[in-house]
């Protein structure tokens, strides 16, 4: 009996120590990531909201007066009536068509053939990987140099009577869009092929045994089973309306109707009047969030959860 009483206290001590040790471990491991997240996500986003209620006076941001609390928003809404902002909104909106309605369907179709191991698929996969691994500046340089009047494409362009620089004037925006499709296909194909590679082999085998034609297999089997990846890429495509800025910046410096919301925010962030890009950004977030979340919810509803 005495022995039992003696052996109890050290046991409790050890247990307490263990819990304490694990708690310290959890605290130490999470401290920096959580602190960083709180500062750089919550802090930054709260500060973004606060910035929309400030205005620059002599190069310094000060709070707006209470009677003019929504001064920045009013200025933003007024700017929507100007032709430059309207052109910017239109140019940004086009990226929804480019990303979601052109690049994504083409990529989906291409991915199917890569997934079905078309002859040379390993080589083509490397080609499709190039836009993901190369810096965008290199891709845009190579693209713009190739289409310059002294470029690789010059003889072909001359056949169509095109001798001028395509990155100047009305053709500039078409070149930016063409670049986005050309480079965007590779990025989407890689992610879609990776999504398709998770489809179980027996499903495809039974399709083959039943003699399902390729296009029927594509629409009835491949698309529903790759739906989560397609949904994510569709959402990414919708986000590009607000995010695209490097392509027009590198190719046309945002001129010739190629200015986008993302580029405008990037350029204006270089100045001292940070309230203007912050207000535009917050307004876009408020507009984008419900649209994108609803779209995501709707798209997820189409085929439901894919479990295999």
């Amino acid at each position: 009996m005495e022995k039992v009483i003696e052996s109890n206290p050290p046991k409790r001590k050890r247990r307490r120590f263990k819990i304490k040790g694990t708690s310290i471990f959890i605290f130490v491991m999470l401290f920096y990531p959580v602190a960083h997240f709180l500062l750089m996500w919550f802090g930054v986003n709260i500060n973004s909201i606060l910035l929309t209620f400030q205005t620059p006076v002599k190069g310094k941001l000060v709070w707006v007066e209470f009677k003019e609390l929504f001064y920045n928003y009013e200025t933003l809404f007024l700017s929507f009536k100007t032709s430059t902002v309207q052109s910017m909104l239109k140019a940004s909106g086009v990226y929804f068509i480019i990303s979601c309605l052109i690049t994504l369907p083409i990529s989906l179709f291409f991915s199917y053939f890569i997934f079905k191991k078309i002859v040379g698929n390993s080589f083509f996969k490397v080609i499709f990987f190039l836009p993901s691994i190369l810096p965008l500046i290199i891709l845009t340089l190579v693209f713009s140099l190739s289409f310059s009047p002294n470029g690789l494409m010059a003889p072909i362009l001359q056949l169509f009577g095109q001798k001028a620089d395509l990155f100047i004037g009305d053709s500039a925006k078409w070149m930016v869009w063409f670049f986005c499709i050309w480079a965007g296909i590779g990025y989407d194909v890689i992610l879609l092929t990776s999504g398709m590679s998770r489809i179980p082999r027996d499903v495809l085998e039974s399709c083959k045994m039943d003699g399902v034609p390729p296009m029927k297999e594509f629409f009835k089997i491949i698309i529903p089973l790759t739906w989560p990846t397609i949904t994510t890429l569709f959402i990414f495509g919708m986000m590009s309306v607000f995010n695209v800025y490097l392509q027009p910046m590198f190719l046309t410096s945002g001129m010739y109707d190629t200015m986008t919301i993302g580029l405008k925010i990037y350029q204006d962030s270089g100045g001292s009047a940070l309230n203007t890009p912050a207000t535009l950004g917050l307004f876009c977030s408020l507009v984008a969030t419900p649209i994108i979340l609803t779209t995501r919810w709707g798209l997820n509803k189409i085929y439901g959860d894919v479990n295999y």
């Binding site: 694990t22 471990f25 959890i26 130490v28 491991m29 920096y32 990531p33 959580v34 960083h36 997240f37 500062l39 750089m40 930054v44 986003n45 500060n47 973004s48 910035l51 941001l61 291409f110 053939f113 079905k116 078309i118 040379g120 996969k125 490397v126 080609i127 990987f129 993901s132 691994i133 810096p135 965008l136 190579v142 140099l145 190739s146 002294n150 470029g151 690789l152 010059a154 003889p155 480079a183 965007g184 990025y187 890689i190 992610l191 990776s194 999504g195 082999r201 034609p213 390729p214 986000m239 995010n243 925010i265 990037y266 962030s269 940070l274 890009p277 950004g281 977030s285 984008a288 979340l293």
Partner: protein, 314 residues
């Protein structure tokens, strides 16, 4: 001799693997095609070849012209060089001007090594710390952390940049290498999700055995968990390294005076185009391609097998 044998073995193994794959493919029911299907696949093959040409030819054209003299390029921009010269590469290595912040391409690559290298190490470490604890330990707030992280990745935030710039200025981290690395060092990005799922699938048996032997949690993490998760960690590291190497946004805003290669290449190209020195620009592009192509060739299998949504930025 041993090195030659080593490479011989590697090439032999690769050849055998290729033959095996070819044999398997030939006899696989999944890849047996009817006549109509064959036509469709031939058409698509031609489309893919054209697409591949559209990617390869511009780079070959740039490579070829990098070996031309200025006059040779202006007189014939499509033909082969009349005389193959390396002066463009030599000049490109030492070229600097006020618009390139007096940085040569070599120094820019050095800056990229420091920033992308350190940034990758720090972010992969913080992500693995956070992912391991959230995936494997039960503590109050665990679900909240996971939920908030997912929420932050789903909600589209547009234009947080002005606020971030203000915050970084207030913290006196702008124009510093530390500032850039600090921005990259977050542990709750897409890396967190990738590592979370791989840690979640790790067996807990080794950990239990180590706990019985009296190992501390830190020792378990460093000595057991990290070696066990070596595969996913290497994949995440390489993908992150490529992402940070190519990143333009952060260094262009927070380190404009010490350009990394992604930012510096813009400075170099603007400056060279202004001086109409295209042949040197071609050589510069080729030099800038070498590090990234080397990484891709060395780790192509790891990169291609581990790319998933959110894992690799374009």
């Amino acid at each position: 001799m041993a090195i030659i044998n080593y490479f011989k073995n590697i090439f032999h193994k690769k050849k055998m693997d290729r033959l095996q794959a070819q044999y398997e493919r030939k006899n696989d029911i999944l890849y047996k095609r009817h006549k109509g299907e064959k036509v469709l696949f031939i058409v698509m093959f031609i489309v893919f070849v054209l697409f591949a040409i559209s990617f390869i030819f511009p780079f070959l054209w740039i490579l070829m012209n990098a070996f031309k003299t200025k006059s040779n390029f202006s007189s014939d921009f499509l033909g082969l060089p009349t005389k193959w010269v390396f002066t463009n590469f030599i000049e490109a290595f030492t070229y600097k001007s006020a618009s390139t912040k007096n940085f040569t391409i070599f120094q820019m690559i050095g800056m990229s090594c420091i920033i992308a290298g350190l940034g990758t190490i720090v972010t992969v470490f913080t992500s693995s710390c956070a992912a391991f604890v959230v995936a494997k330990y039960k503590f109050p707030g665990r679900n909240l952390i996971y939920g908030v992280v997912i929420f932050s990745l789903i909600v589209p935030i547009v234009g947080a940049l002005p606020s971030q710039i203000q915050l970084m200025n207030n913290l006196h981290l702008s124009n510093t290498v530390i500032g850039c690395i600090f921005l990259y060092s977050g542990g709750f990005g897409s890396n967190f999700l990738l590592l979370y799922s791989s840690f979640k699938g790790l067996s807990w048996t080794y950990v239990e055995a180590a706990k019985i032997d009296g190992a501390s949690d830190f020792k378990i993490f460093f000595r057991i968990i990290l070696p066990l998760a070596k595969g996913p960690l290497i994949a995440v590291t390489i993908i992150q390294l490529i992402g940070l190497w190519n990143d333009y946004l952060t260094p262009s805003i927070y380190l404009p005076k010490k350009p990394t290669i992604a930012v510096g290449l813009k400075y170099l190209s603007d400056s060279m185009i202004l001086k109409s020195n295209y042949t040197m620009l071609f050589a510069t592009i080729i030099i800038a391609l070498i590090p990234i192509i080397t990484i891709f060739c060395a780790f192509s299998k790891t990169i291609m097998e581990n790319t998933s949504v959110g894992g690799l930025k374009g």
